[in-house]
């Protein structure tokens, strides 16, 4: 229920489920994400750890970004900020034309639910829960009834080629299948951006290719994807690669 209320608060009411795709194709070049001097500083006791140091970046709708960099470069922290998993210490974040200023927990949760999809390296599927219910979960948090959420979840699983595995529990699925379930879950609320954190990190090379082919297909359909990876051959699937070093973008 709060899904709709949220859209009014944020000023995203234009992006109802039906009009979103049209919108995406029509204004392909509009910036979806704009950040200005975005910083994130952690405090380890009295010692500040400046994980992100004033990053400026613009990501257009329909982009497929690969975010690369050595460990400790701040790429994960930066992705968390972009994905509304964490609040920045300073700077501006304009998402789809709205200046995001309010970073309280509930507001961020609503944003993540409505406009973000996640694909994690470790899949993060609920144990002892069917693929169908795993995929339906974000839709339940959007306040949609279980039956309708399951119908949507079935469509999503069909899209990733798992329509014959909908009642399988995660432990009955292969790694590749589990990752496909999590892609289906990322897609169910028709997000504006899909964040992929090392999506092939736990998969063998053959399965990695399968997963990357699905992501490539999503990109072709007009989805915006932001992928953190440290493997150059995976980064090649992206339309644009951004390198980070010491909390700043070194090359893009």
């Amino acid at each position: 229920m709060y899904y709709y209320i949220f859209r009014q608060i944020v000023g995203l009411e234009d992006y109802s489920r039906n009009t979103m795709t049209k919108h995406t194709t029509k204004e392909q070049d509009d910036p979806l994400i704009e950040v200005h001097k975005l910083t994130k500083t952690y405090w380890n006791g009295d010692i500040p750890i400046r994980a992100v140091r004033g990053v400026n970046l613009t990501i257009k709708e329909g982009d497929f970004i690969a975010l690369m960099g050595p460990s400790g470069s701040g790429k994960s922290t930066f992705m968390n900020l972009l994905a509304f998993l964490d609040a920045p210490s300073s700077g501006r974040y304009i998402f789809s034309g709205s200046d995001i200023k309010d970073f309280d927990d509930d507001y961020l949760a609503e944003l993540r639910n409505a406009v973000i999809g996640f694909v994690f390296q470790q899949f993060h599927l609920l144990p002892r829960t069917s693929a169908l219910d795993n995929v339906a979960l974000p839709m339940l948090y959007a306040g949609i009834r279980k039956r309708r959420a399951r119908e949507h979840a079935y469509e999503m699983l069909k899209k990733v080629g798992l329509e014959d595995r909908i009642y399988h529990k995660p432990n009955e699925l292969s790694g590749g299948q589990q990752q496909r379930v999590s892609i289906a879950r990322a897609l169910i609320n028709e997000p504006k951006v899909i964040f992929c954190d090392e999506p092939t990190g736990n998969l063998d090379s053959k399965t990695s290719i399968e997963i990357m082919d699905i992501l490539k297909k999503l990109h072709k359909e007009g989805k915006t994807l932001i992928m953190v990876t440290h493997e150059p051959h995976i980064a090649k699937y992206a339309s644009r690669t951004i390198y980070m070093k010491d909390g700043s973008i070194s090359q893009s």
């Binding site: 968390n80 979960l137 948090y141 279980k146």
Partner: protein
């Protein structure tokens, strides 16, 4: 909206950790079980007593000399006599008074065909039969003239009759020797010792006979106690006060010196029992409370472990849009599910145990006919307590879960 889903998750979680859940619930099971047990047995006992009392009528007051019953400040010198009884009967202050049974009881050796026993014999007026609702099984009660003329007749209990003479019919017109004096058995009554734990196996004879034959000279006119019946619908408290006033007046006792008589109405007896029962119930409830607190802490402990074990799940739920409140409610429902299940098992155990107790009591005392009473309010109370325990002890772990940071939780190993 997600309550059903949360509940399903809770059940799934319970089933996945059956052993752990069962152990955790034990405290709640014991707590709730004992509440149900004591409440049910209390009601069973109350119903039993009420049935007993109403069987004998609630319009009856018992009077005894207080001194006989212990150190209640009564004077040992006061005794009730036959003339006191007559004075009460003719009192204008007590117009509602209908009958008085005033007995003089002795314990004597008796002899039947050379066999010797000891039994108690109650010498009383003919009113004793009606006031005690005694059922005549054979023969007849003694008459007023037999009472007046101190005839040597006796009415015995049916168990006694069957044991000694084979049957009730065979006992009638037989003779027993009480302390060397021959008595004719004229009637057999249903033995109330079987039906009531308060009455002993006793025989009944005219009071004049017992007084003349067995009472020492100084007790010639004494009566041990009085059973006074008054008209139905009389205000019991008012009647009791007037009775007390009259007794004090007759015996010349100053009211300020304390109570010389123990006056107990059946109504009062019930109230006394209620008070005792309430005390017992409060005591057991306190123990049950401790058990619930211990059980609750167990629940809290297991929920804290669960939150820790499922940190990643919490992180994932938050990442896909669960608000803090949603996570809070989810874990609260899980702890409520635990305590509610524990409560339901406790209710079943409590009911089963009290049913078994009633069954055992009836097996041991078949005559009492104790009835099982189902107490719906105790079930409602138990459910309420179980849910409340779940909320109280689940709140802290649930708050802890709700405040976890999504990224840190996702990365938690």
């Amino acid at each position: 909206m997600m309550l059903v889903t949360h509940f399903q998750t809770a059940i799934k979680q319970l089933l996945a950790n059956k052993g752990k859940a069962a152990l955790t619930m034990l405290g709640v099971v014991i707590g709730i079980g004992s509440v149900i047990y004591i409440m049910t047995l209390g009601e069973v006992a109350k119903k039993f007593l009420l049935d007993q009392i109403s069987q004998f009528g609630t319009n009856v007051i018992e009077v005894a000399v207080a001194g006989e019953f212990g150190p209640f400040g009564g004077s040992e010198d006061v005794t009730l006599t036959v003339s006191d009884v007559d004075e009460l009967k003719s009192s204008t202050l007590l117009p509602e008074l209908t009958k008085i049974s005033a007995g003089y009881s002795v314990t004597k050796n008796i002899e039947i065909d050379g066999k010797k026993f000891t039994t108690s014999i109650l010498g009383d007026t003919i009113d004793v039969f009606e006031l005690n609702h005694l059922n005549l099984m054979g023969g007849r009660f003694y008459t007023e003239s037999e009472e007046k003329n101190a005839e040597r007749v006796v009415v015995i209990g049916d168990v006694f009759a069957e044991d000694q003479f084979g049957s009730i019919k065979d006992a009638i017109n037989e003779h027993i020797t009480i302390d060397g004096t021959k008595f004719a058995i004229i009637g057999v009554v249903e033995d109330i010792s079987g039906a009531s734990p308060f009455a002993q196996n006793i025989s009944y004879a005219p009071r004049n006979t017992i007084h003349r034959l067995f009472a020492p000279a100084e007790e010639m006119n004494d009566v041990g106690y009085m059973l006074i019946e008054f008209e139905q619908g009389t205000n019991s408290t008012s009647f009791e006060q007037r009775l007390k006033y009259e007794l004090n007046r007759i015996k010349g006792i100053d009211e300020d010196e304390g109570d010389a008589f123990l006056i107990v109405s059946r109504q009062q007896f019930l109230e006394i029992f209620d008070t005792i029962l309430l005390g017992i119930q409060a005591f057991v409830s306190a123990i049950a409370g401790i058990s619930l607190v211990v059980g609750g802490i167990g629940i809290m402990n297991i929920m804290l472990v669960t939150v820790k074990e499922r940190t990643k799940e919490i992180g994932l739920r938050k990442a896909v849009g669960a608000k803090n409140s949603s996570v809070l409610i989810q874990f609260l429902i899980e702890s409520i599910a635990l305590t509610t299940l524990g409560g339901l098992i406790g209710i079943a155990a409590g009911l089963g145990l009290s049913y078994l107790s009633v069954f055992a009591a009836n097996t041991l005392q078949p005559g009492w006919g104790i009835q099982f009473v189902f107490v719906p309010s105790s079930i409602a109370l138990a459910c309420g307590v179980a849910i409340t325990t779940g909320i109280i002890f689940g709140l802290y772990p649930a708050i802890k879960a709700s405040r976890l940071h999504p990224i840190e939780s996702l990365r938690y190993e």
